[in-house]
Symmetry: C2
Subunit: 468 residues, 2 copies
């Protein structure tokens, strides 16, 4: 097809394009006709938030015949010359020489008309919602964050590892899991053996699940390649219909040999600063949309995160601060219980007004793989809290001592026979190592200010919803 | 912990490190003791294929006490001074001042001793195999290819989109699918409604599956943002126990609005040249391993791909060439049938001796979404063939005309009610668009010469195998 230029490229260097002929391809956002016979057509091609204004002289019959059909949503190609714009709201515009209409959108039935639509409504038309300003901006920011994840770890010498999606280990009981099967629960086979096990007839010849985390498998690679990270989908079959939960979401999980908790925390800090800086540098226009219409404190929160050193406190200190805070929390604070979102938000939003890293959590409330501290009561865990979202990163130094790990597995009732391979990593060339996990959707929520997690993933999966 | 330098960084600039003190952290590959009381310890930290030789003077008791325990697989930290090496096989070495042993590996039971192990054996110890030279090299090359995928599309203005893993559409019958459920086929619920449907009680309240491709959903985003790509896991529940099939594998699927077949083909060509060039530039040492021990023609094949313009022929021409070839194929060649691997390899390995793009396949053997050509007998499809692997890329221009798409769906018995959203993309602002898919594992096989696909993914899933 005709080689077109993307609209963001024109805006990036307007003067270089002045008086030049360009071809653009995109979708009509609005069309307005002046009485003087001029049409103003706003075209968006998805490369950026801004539309490029196209000026069409309707006295030219070959333009008039196309322009009269143009409505919101139509796919067009415009050839014309870039000119300085005398109008308000833009400094350049394209004077059309030729307009081709690829695909029409009937205004009588096309659901995305100019008015504002609620997020709830847009969710019912998930195949069209990325064409809106807000969801388009989410997609661009999500893209920038995702690429920044790779850029950061690659420059730091990490290797990207694809940990398995289908797994036969149900991963330390981190929540309800989805089953993966070729058997049909509506017509299950007869048990294939005397003990009544239908799974011997399943694809993997035993029960299999969707992963809840790639961490344990990433440890395999960290203890071979040194520094690795995963970035892939993870799953929870929790029946939670809230604005904070998805059944399918994307996780980033770095894992580093020869890193202790302090190293881990420093990495987490420089990592999140890096990815937020990338968005601040490259997505200013999209961020402004969210700062204006969604979350007024957005820019300040993001800039604070990049600028400030994270506050580091122990869990024990956090509990003391919360108890003395004078706040009335819904959930009581007591040493040994998990912090709730309200507690996390108090610490980061009110007490310290910047990101907070809490370390050394009670051993009893954390998983078996976290390294036991010398006090034997706490483990070398770290949670990073940020305003609005609360916990955005959860990590730990891993237990590298064989005897302590086996003891932990016994206490936590982790079946040793299923995790023999994990134990082996402590039998053969064990080393101190650490890692953390960060949910991409939480990160996009933090970056955009959007309150409902269903808006920050292209195709949200929740109880009763797996459309498309 | 002590800040260490990665071994690849020392090798990248040996002279800068000469006479400098360094700390390295890694795993012992071998230890050899000289009669003169010197130990030679090869240390690998996974950052590169090469080991760094550590020289330890055993007359120093504090070294002797550690060194005498060092065996293959031990995790160590070494502090010492980089010196020019008088020995063969390396130009520098580290003279140890201090050695710390983190984790021992008992030579009596550690499975990875110095001898060569078969790939079959290594598959049985999937948690240790990345510690071998070959699997480590695979991991580094896979990492470089994966990042190059992102680098390429980002520099070309594409947006990375996460298409869903769990889907309620069983995707154009591209093969057997896995079911995703919270029901237990071993103990299925009683039907929840009179028509006997147990799925009303399932998590998504209807049958759900693992995706076989993100293409159709990527089209949604291409028709909003212009140019997008997916890079994620896809699944096939085919009961094929071959060296070419996996139940879980990673796919890259770009999708571009305003691209016709020719544009698509040009993108595919520049894409694959870019990612192979990245490996040729940055993974020379790892590539040499495969060229020496796995596939002697490797470097020539890769360099040819980067250098040569792909040969473009129509399917009809391909059939004629194959018929006239004089080769005796296992499968007969007849217009209207799918090309087999042996046909593809003849064309790319013998006839043209470079990558071949075949376009315009018979309409009857291709899916409903491919654009029907004017002859009405063929569709605007493209397959890219490369030596050894055969088809590495499959793509097409998509049918953007509403009436033709509906006709195709009718012919191919695609249920229109399930794909209403897909049809909508042709009702509202449709535009010519195209895309292709490339399996990452095929690409890693092509780049390494490895014959069995189980070696190029960290945790292969095949019938009966979902370990870890």
């Amino acid at each position: 097809m005709e080689k077109a230029i993307r609209i963001d490229q024109i805006f990036k260097n307007e003067t270089a394009h002045l008086e030049k002929e360009v071809t653009i391809q995109g979708w009509v956002r609005t069309r307005r006709d002046s009485k003087a016979g001029i049409s103003f057509i706003e075209v968006n091609d998805g490369s950026c938030l801004r539309n490029l204004q196209v000026i069409a002289d309707r006295s030219r019959p070959e333009l008039e015949s196309v322009v009269e059909r143009l409505a919101t949503g139509c796919a067009v190609q415009v050839q014309g010359v870039v000119q300085a714009s005398p109008g308000k709201g833009q400094s350049i515009e394209v004077h059309a020489e030729r307009i081709d209409l690829f695909g029409w959108a009937d205004p009588a039935v096309y659901p995305l008309q100019k008015k504002r639509h609620s997020f709830e409504f847009l969710r019912t038309i998930g195949h069209l919602r990325p064409r809106t300003n807000t969801l388009g901006a989410v997609a661009r920011i999500r893209n920038r964050l995702s690429f920044a994840v790779h850029q950061f770890f690659q420059k730091e010498g990490f290797f990207y590892v694809h940990t398995p999606i289908i797994t036969s280990s149900d991963c330390e009981g981190a929540g309800e899991v989805f089953r993966v099967t070729t058997l049909d629960p509506a017509a299950p086979p007869a048990p294939g053996n005397p003990d009544g096990n239908v799974y011997s007839q399943d694809f993997f010849e035993k029960p299999a699940y969707l992963t809840v985390s790639g961490q344990l498998q990433a440890e395999i690679y960290a203890l071979a390649l040194g520094k690795v990270y995963t970035f892939g989908p993870t799953f929870r079959a929790e029946n939670s219909n809230t604005s904070r939960h998805l059944a399918e979401f994307w996780m980033i999980e770095p894992e580093m040999a020869f890193y202790d908790l302090q190293d881990n925390l420093e990495l987490a800090q420089s990592f999140i600063k890096y990815v937020i800086s990338a968005v601040l540098d490259d997505c200013q226009e999209d961020l402004n949309l969210f700062a204006r219409f969604v979350e007024p404190t957005l820019m300040e929160t993001l800039e604070t995160l990049v600028r400030e050193t994270f506050q580091v406190i122990t869990y024990t200190e956090a509990v003391e601060i919360l108890k003395k805070s004078g706040e009335s929390f819904d959930y009581p604070v007591e040493w040994g219980t998990d912090l709730q979102s309200e507690h996390e938000r108090y610490l980061t939003e009110k007490k310290f007004r910047k990101p907070v890293a809490i370390i050394d959590f009670p051993r009893a409330i954390k998983p078996f793989y976290m390294r036991v501290n010398d006090d034997e009561k706490t483990v070398a865990a770290v949670d990073v809290l940020v305003p609005r979202v609360g916990e955005i990163i959860g990590g730990s130094q891993r237990e590298e001592r064989l005897d302590v790990l086996l003891k932990q597995m016994e206490i936590k009732a982790v079946p040793a026979e299923e995790y023999q391979w994990y134990v082996d990593l402590r039998r053969f060339g064990s080393a101190p190592h650490s890692g953390f996990g960060l949910g991409l959707e939480r990160l996009v929520q933090f970056t955009t200010g959007l309150g409902n997690i269903r808006e920050v993933i292209p195709f949200p999966r929740t109880p009763g919803h797996a459309d498309f």
